[in-house]
């Protein structure tokens, strides 16, 4: 899987390439807007990591051209510009995600993976937290590679949580995901399904924990030892 890294600081570019290679990605590294344009036309990349302040122009220009010709390649913007206006203009120009320097490399990898696992993107459909795995295409949950039987609603909740691992999913999001627009939902319905799912997973030996953030939502994480 080939990634395009556009970063003019050679030192940082080299380190990114090294880290990404270690994580199993092939990378092409360029330092200018012109080179990035050429590379994008010649190679079909799985994703692009784009620095904004480049010596021969603004990285956002490349991004806009890309979106203008309806190229859906996921773009993760990497920038020293962290101001509110910068972030807004970055996302408006078509960035899929926005990381402000300095960033943790694991975070870059996680965000990249999240982009690549989006429907239609290149990475596999398997989502994993500790020994719990969820195939987003077959919607099958496995613990220690053993397939589990879950109700449709429990599966829906798990699916959402796994897709947003490490992040809090709001109660509203869970409601929308399970019930769609079907209208009347008992106010404690989500709590009930989360409770059942939690019980099921712990009985089957999954080393995961579904945290309830009161008034906010839910988060799935590896169980602390």
């Amino acid at each position: 899987m080939r990634l395009l890294v556009v970063e003019d600081n050679e030192e940082l570019a080299k380190l990114l390439a090294k880290g990404l290679q270690a994580a199993g990605y092939d990378t092409d590294v360029f330092g200018t807007v012109a080179e990035a344009r050429t590379a994008l036309l010649m190679v079909d990349y799985a994703a692009m990591i784009l620095d904004l302040g480049l010596p021969d122009g603004d990285g956002l220009a490349v991004l806009r051209e890309l979106r203008h010709r309806k190229d859906p390649v996921p773009v993760l913007v990497l920038t020293a510009r962290g101001g509110l206006q910068d972030r807004i203009s970055g996302l408006r120009s078509g960035a899929d995600d926005y990381l402000v320097k300095p960033f943790a490399f694991e975070e870059l990898l996680a965000r990249l993976e999240a982009q690549l696992r989006r429907p239609g993107q290149i990475l596999g459909n398997s989502l994993r937290v500790a020994n719990l795995e969820f195939d987003s295409r077959s919607r099958q949950a496995t613990i220690n590679d053993e397939p589990q039987v879950l109700s449709a609603r429990e599966t829906a909740v798990l699916e959402l949580l796994m897709h947003s691992k490490g992040r809090v999913v709001s109660k509203k999001q869970v409601e929308d995901h399970i019930f769609g627009l079907s209208g009347d939902v008992a106010s404690n319905a989500v709590e009930v399904y989360v409770h059942r799912l939690r019980k099921q997973l712990s009985e089957k030996g999954a080393r995961v924990q579904i945290h309830t953030i009161r008034g906010v939502g839910y988060l799935i994480a590896e169980e602390k030892s």
Binding site: N9, F105, I213
Partner: protein, 453 residues
């Protein structure tokens, strides 16, 4: 030397002095002019009298002179009246004819005298002033003198001179006061733009360096000063701008090297050292981010039309920081955010303020405890922790930039709460802090509630 604090009092005092001096000098000058004018009239009258006496001087056949005065003139010079005197002298200064009892000359004769001479002499207690004219009759020359006793001078003219001060002097006083009143009025009017400029200048501060004083209405005398002040403000503004930009630029320029450091550490093989280094880099990055926030806040203006939903902002912040809290075995609870609470303000900035408070609370709350967010319908957000609380004497200090209770404590920048306070100031909102009865600190943010979204 008296130093005057105000221009008006200086002008008034100087004007009073000038008016007093002028009125004194003017009075003396006028009375001198008046008395010299009366002297001239007197001299002319005396010359005329001498001439009229001389007109009646005749030369007899024996060569001696005789005076044939008509009765009305004789009456004028009669002894009982005693006011006027005359005498006729020959070329040697001997008195030939005299109205005086002893038949002497009115004035002693000066041989070098010209045709007409005005003279003055003392006779007993009386001062005699008058004229002497030369008269030729045939071969002989005579001097005809006429004099007036000044003690009996014309009363009318003396009255005018004597009453001058009494009659004219009093008019100067109201004129003086009227002039002063007009002075004060003119100056107040002229200085009004200056007072307005002072009012504008009161608003200039480190956060408002764009204000300049208006020059249009100012009197031209003070315009150079105000112009120079404006130029000084320009330079000051530039100085502040450079300083602000330096903070932003410096923080910005540090981002890339820090990223390199961070990535290098992240890709290290020995993760035991890496974890410690990561924490150092984390706190350094945090401080840099906060410095950038501060630099951004220094130039940030809240759009008066901006509005934010406190429920949404708090939900967003709670969602963002919950993983951080869980990582440290701490919990987050959000209360009251069930329906929108609209307030005036910039959502991003409010989110930063609440996030800084939340991070602060998570840092201070012990493991296994909860950080509580409360959104109240009247536009109040409360963030409370179960930490040690805040000492009464430190409640003001904690909002100062770089203030920390314990400087040795890692990971604390002393910037978070100063950012919160700055954001609140920008929103004309207030922040208070108190300790809860159950322990721990509670920060309350009070916003201007909007009725509808």
């Amino acid at each position: 030397m008296i130093r005057f604090k105000s221009i008006i009092s200086r002008i008034v005092i100087l004007h009073v002095i000038a008016l007093v001096i002028t009125s004194i000098v003017m009075s003396f000058a006028l009375s001198w002019l008046l008395s010299s004018a009366t002297d001239n009239i007197h001299n002319e009258a005396m010359e005329e009298q001498a001439a009229s006496v001389a007109h009646h001087l005749v030369l007899k056949a024996d060569g001696s002179a005789a005076l044939e005065l008509p009765p009305e003139l004789q009456g004028l010079y009669s002894h009982p009246y005693g006011r006027y005197t005359y005498a006729v002298l020959d070329e040697h200064g001997r008195a030939l004819i005299s109205s005086l009892a002893d038949g002497s000359a009115v004035f002693p004769l000066d041989p070098k005298s010209t045709d007409v001479e005005f003279l003055r002499t003392q006779r007993g207690n009386a001062v005699i002033s008058g004229a002497s004219i030369r008269k030729r009759l045939g071969e002989r020359t005579f001097w005809v003198q006429a004099g007036e006793d000044l003690a009996n001078r014309d009363v009318l003219i003396d009255d005018i001179v004597a009453d001058f001060f009494k009659n004219v002097g009093w008019i100067t006083l109201p004129i003086l006061f009227a002039l002063l009143a007009i002075d004060i009025a003119i100056f107040r009017r002229a200085l009004r733009p200056l007072r307005e400029a002072s009012e504008i200048a009161r608003h200039i501060g480190p956060m408002r360096t764009d204000v300049r004083l208006p020059l249009e209405e100012l009197p031209s005398e003070v315009r150079p000063l105000v112009f120079a002040v404006n130029q000084a403000l320009d330079r000051l503004d530039e100085g502040f701008r450079v300083q602000r930009e330096f903070t932003a630029d410096a923080a910005h320029e540090l981002r890339t090297p820090l990223s390199i450091l961070r990535t290098r550490v992240d890709t290290l093989d020995d993760q035991s050292i890496a974890n410690a280094l990561k924490q150092d880099i984390e706190s350094m990055s945090r401080m840099m981010g906060q410095l950038l926030d501060i630099a951004e806040l220094d130039v940030f203006m809240v759009d008066p039309d901006d509005k934010a939903d406190l429920s949404e902002v708090c939900t967003d912040v709670a969602q963002m920081i919950a993983p951080l809290a869980l990582e440290q075995d701490k919990d987050v609870v959000l209360l009251g955010a069930h329906k929108p609470v609209w307030v005036k303000g910039n959502a991003e900035m409010l989110s930063r303020a609440i996030r800084n408070l939340a991070e602060n609370a998570i840092k201070h709350t012990p493991r296994g405890t909860v950080v509580e967010f409360t959104v109240e319908e009247n536009g109040i957000v409360k963030v409370s922790d179960r930490g040690p609380g805040i000492l009464r004497e430190e409640r003001e200090l904690i909002f100062r930039r770089f203030w920390r209770r314990d400087r040795t404590r890692p990971g604390s920048t002393g910037l978070g709460l100063s950012i919160v306070q700055r954001i609140m100031e920008l929103h004309h909102a207030t922040i208070t802090v108190e300790n809860q009865p159950t322990g721990g600190a509670q920060f309350s943010l009070y916003f201007a509630r909007l009725e509808t979204g």
